[in-house]
């Protein structure tokens, strides 16, 4: 036993030498599932403004690694993370259900619509994306472009529509929202029709964009950020906000949560306030076409205002719960 202890200690000493990372006082740790290319500049700006060093762990939903979320869950006994910045409300809701987040009612978010906030303040929304349809103008005449998700189940789009794997990312949330709005029966009917219409399942929203741009399929559902990217890259792409006469378009805000028992709670609040500020919303509008939730934020012309879009009327927390309920169904749906 003494022998073992000796190895234990010498091993620790050895690793101590290599553990170069020493904890600093003025830091905040953020785990972000928002693409690094957009989130990093915002965090850098915060560092500059506040003098607090940001230590970030990035991840991406694109390749569905969801390493960050699973990491937070695995770390829950001894949280390392202060702030969780999510690209959609689902992940925040999952964490809050697992009791990993803490409540924080940021004064900065006072004028953000309550729809985009957790009533218990475990997460708060900002800069939103919407779910839209993109289509290839070479394959679909703009005049005849589908205007509703129900158009996608029509015979003329058989085998020509793509959506990303609904088990992951924002597509899951979109489907859960459809369940919320339509009720289980109609939603299942819709998905069955879609399946019978030979919908193509893409690996990610980015993949949807790629397939449509390349003309592998005629149209597909994706997020506004991917859609704007596609519009920028190719002239043959069109974009539609669906169901403006019906159930509305799904709006998906970024969300930010504070982690319970986090190591730097004060700095965490500062970062959350910063992320919820108009400045961040303006920056994200510019870099990735996200629509601000505050009123009157200065945004580029081509970005639509939220006021101009008919939103899907859903309760985000309930939808997140719905999502858990339908996961097994969706798995079946994808696999069969």
């Amino acid at each position: 036993m003494i022998r073992k202890n000796y190895f234990f200690i010498s091993g620790f000493l050895f690793l101590l030498l290599t553990a170069a990372c020493v904890k600093q006082k003025k830091t905040v740790v953020v785990y972000a599932t928002v693409d690094q290319i957009f989130s990093e500049p915002v965090l850098k700006e915060f560092e500059k403004d506040s003098g607090i060093e940001v230590k970030a762990v990035y991840d991406t939903e694109e390749t569905k690694s969801t390493g960050v979320l699973n990491r937070i869950i695995a770390e829950k006994e001894n949280p390392q993370c202060d702030v969780f910045w999510s690209g959609d409300p689902v992940r925040s809701a999952v964490l809050s259900q697992k009791g990993i987040t803490a409540a924080y009612n940021s004064p900065v978010a006072a004028d953000i619509n309550n729809v985009f906030k957790d009533p218990e303040h475990h997460w708060t929304g900002f800069s939103a994306r919407a779910r839209v349809l993109i289509y290839n103008k070479d394959l679909i005449d703009p005049v005849e472009a589908p205007q509703s998700i129900f158009d996608l189940t029509k015979e003329k789009y058989k085998g020509k529509v793509t959506i990303a794997n609904p088990l992951f990312g924002t597509t899951t949330f979109h489907i859960a929202a459809i369940f919320s709005v339509l009720g289980d029966q109609k939603a299942i009917q819709f998905l069955t029709d879609l399946k019978n219409n030979d919908v193509v399942i893409a690996t990610s929203n980015g993949d949807v964009k790629k397939m449509v741009s390349e003309g592998k399929v005629a149209c597909g559902l994706t997020d506004t950020d991917d859609a704007f990217e596609a519009l920028k890259e190719g002239e043959n792409i069109g974009m539609v906000f669906l169901d403006q006469q019906g159930i509305g378009t799904l709006i998906m805000p970024n969300t930010v949560s504070m982690i319970k028992n986090s190591p730097n709670p004060e700095n965490a609040k500062k970062l959350i306030d910063y992320l919820l500020s108009r400045k961040t919303e303006a920056a994200l509008a510019k870099s990735c076409a996200q629509m601000p939730l505050h009123k009157g934020v200065d945004i580029p012309k081509e970005i639509p205002s939220l006021d101009a879009i008919v939103p899907m009327k859903i309760d985000y927390n309930k939808t997140a719960q719905k999502l858990e309920e339908i996961q097994n169904y969706l798995k079946e749906w994808v696999e069969n």
């Binding site: 190895f7 091993g11 990372c21 230590k55 390749t63 969801t66 990491r71 993370c81």
Partner: protein, 518 residues
């Protein structure tokens, strides 16, 4: 057993440290995972086993494919006078230095470019083809080294009796059986736990299923349970390997006959050269042309941007990979020596055990074990990344070095023992120099895998640190294709540059060695 352990203090310490730092976390997670075992066992239904069977079949095909072509390439490039063989030996390794995911993307783009459809590649066939192509160089390296170590007399004796073809099939291949097996086993394990390629091609396999449990359902315990199945398969495979190889012929270095015989290609020269060129074309030229074309679409500016993004990662990534590879090789050497010479195999099994665990599960295990306040100095620093690298790749080092140690006649060490040369000096002066080429190969392979490791690293890397593959991966989403391709090419360039530098550093030592053998 106890007596033996105390007899080799270094081995014992390395072993105990390995168990403590790497095995303990995994056992901790396997034994104390949350959730009801009964509930989870129920979820292991027929479908799970169907997928497992499919995964085994596909991994088996990939391992056979890669070992088959790797052996042909290994023979042609290491043992014949094929033109440009030194060039090919280097460039054919390239697919190994790149993340499989990026190559899968390149291949899909390529197919779409040529055929207007990616249906064919986005299938089981595509998974086999792409992973097969990626792992063939690994097999080439392993078999190539083995070809070089065959006692020429054995071949020449064969040539007296029969033609080259029979000599290859009846003498040379049976002699390198351990290498063929190692190649097969390694590639099988790599393929069966590969996730990114089947996922990208939309092929449902056991790993993608496990991943779904993990990332869509957050069911860690089921994922852990599923990974146990995977580990069992790998263990069975290695057990078969042991059983089968127990009587493998001993190859020996003679004082004479060590000089490698280079066979002259005669009437087969043209087809052989065409074959190698064709392989170069499909495994390197085509996919990399796609990457190069894509990255220059955005002009040189994308390259500059990519370089700026990657710049802060170089130092830490190289430092971590070097340290990780050094420790892995040290562990591998220790384990291999004790296993081959002293016949104590337990360390080997542990190395395999960790190697066979899927990356994400290993990452979760490390978090659960190390994320305690009093272990913070490990978990919040680079030490955790080193632990991840060492855990994942020491097995490869042990295998490669073990095969080399197997080939040293025991008398060389015994002669020194009788002369009163102490144990550690025998290792340093006799065994180590003789297996130096294998040690170097193991170091390079471990370095390459470490510097590209993603699955576990992304789970455990310290917040705020910059690590190359993580950066490429997290930037990849929604970044323009040109930027991603440019980053990939830069990563490739850096890896190749470092390997070249290492080769130049070690070359004088290797030369010294080969002088002694030629």
């Amino acid at each position: 057993m106890g007596g033996k352990l105390i007899k080799y203090p270094i081995y014992t310490s390395v072993f105990l440290l390995f168990v403590l730092f790497i095995i303990a976390p995994v056992f901790y997670t396997l034994l104390f995972f949350e959730g009801s075992l009964v509930e989870n066992l129920k979820l292991l239904d027929q479908k799970t086993f169907y997928l497992l069977g499919k995964s085994i079949l596909i991994a088996f095909t990939i391992a056979s494919f890669a070992t088959f072509f790797g052996t042909i390439l290994g023979f042609l490039l290491y043992r014949t006078n094929l033109r440009f063989r030194n060039f090919y030996r280097m460039v054919l390794m390239i697919p190994l230095f790149i993340s499989p995911y990026i190559l899968a993307v390149a291949w899909k783009d390529l197919f779409f470019l040529f055929t207007g459809s990616s249906d064919w590649i986005a299938s089981e066939t595509g998974v086999i083809l792409v992973l097969g192509i990626i792992f063939t160089p690994l097999s080439m390296l392993i078999t190539g080294n083995a070809f070089n170590n065959i006692n020429t007399h054995l071949e020449e004796t064969g040539l007296m009796i029969t033609d080259l073809q029979s000599v290859i099939f009846k003498i040379i291949l049976p002699l390198i059986k351990p290498a063929l097996f190692t190649s097969f086993v390694l590639i099988f394990i790599f393929s069966i736990s590969e996730f990114s390629v089947p996922s990208y091609f939309g092929v449902r396999l056991f790993t993608t299923e496990m991943f779904t449990q993990f990332s869509a359902f957050y069911n860690h315990s089921l994922a852990v349970l599923q990974s146990v199945l995977l580990i069992l398969i790998c263990v069975v495979l290695l057990y078969a390997d042991r059983k089968y190889l127990a009587d493998a012929p001993f190859l020996s270095f003679g004082g004479k006959g060590k000089k490698v015989k280079i066979f002259t290609l005669k009437k087969y020269r043209i087809p052989d050269e065409l074959f190698v060129f064709f392989w170069f074309l499909i495994s390197v030229l085509l996919p990399f042309s796609v990457l190069i074309i894509q990255s220059f679409k955005g002009g040189i500016s994308k390259f500059i941007q990519a370089f700026e993004l990657l710049k802060p990662t170089f130092l830490s990534s190289v430092y971590l990979a070097l340290l990780g590879a050094a420790i892995s090789v040290f562990i591998g050497f220790t384990a291999a020596y004790i296993s081959e010479v002293r016949k104590i195999k337990i360390f080997d099994w542990f190395l395999l055990f960790v190697f066979a665990i899927p990356s994400t599960i290993f990452g979760i295990s490390l978090i659960k074990f190390y994320n305690h306040p009093f272990l913070d100095f490990i978990y919040s620093g680079f030490a955790i990344v080193i632990i991840a690298y060492v855990g994942k790749f020491s097995f490869i080092a042990a295998k490669l070095i073990g095969n080399a140690i197997k080939q040293i006649p025991q008398s060389l060490e015994e002669a020194a023992q009788i002369e009163g040369v102490g144990f550690y000096r025998r290792i340093r002066k006799i065994v180590f120099p003789l297996v130096l080429p294998a040690v170097f190969t193991a170091f390079i392979i471990n370095f390459t895998f470490s510097i590209g490791e993603l699955g576990t690293t992304i789970m455990v890397y310290p917040p705020g640190s910059e690590i190359m593959p993580i950066k490429v991966f997290t930037i990849m989403a929604n970044a323009p294709q040109s930027l991603v391709s440019a980053m990939t090419l830069i990563v490739l360039g850096v890896t190749l540059l470092l390997i070249t530098i290492m080769y130049l550093i070690v070359k004088p030592l290797l030369k010294n060695y080969s002088d002694a053998n030629n």
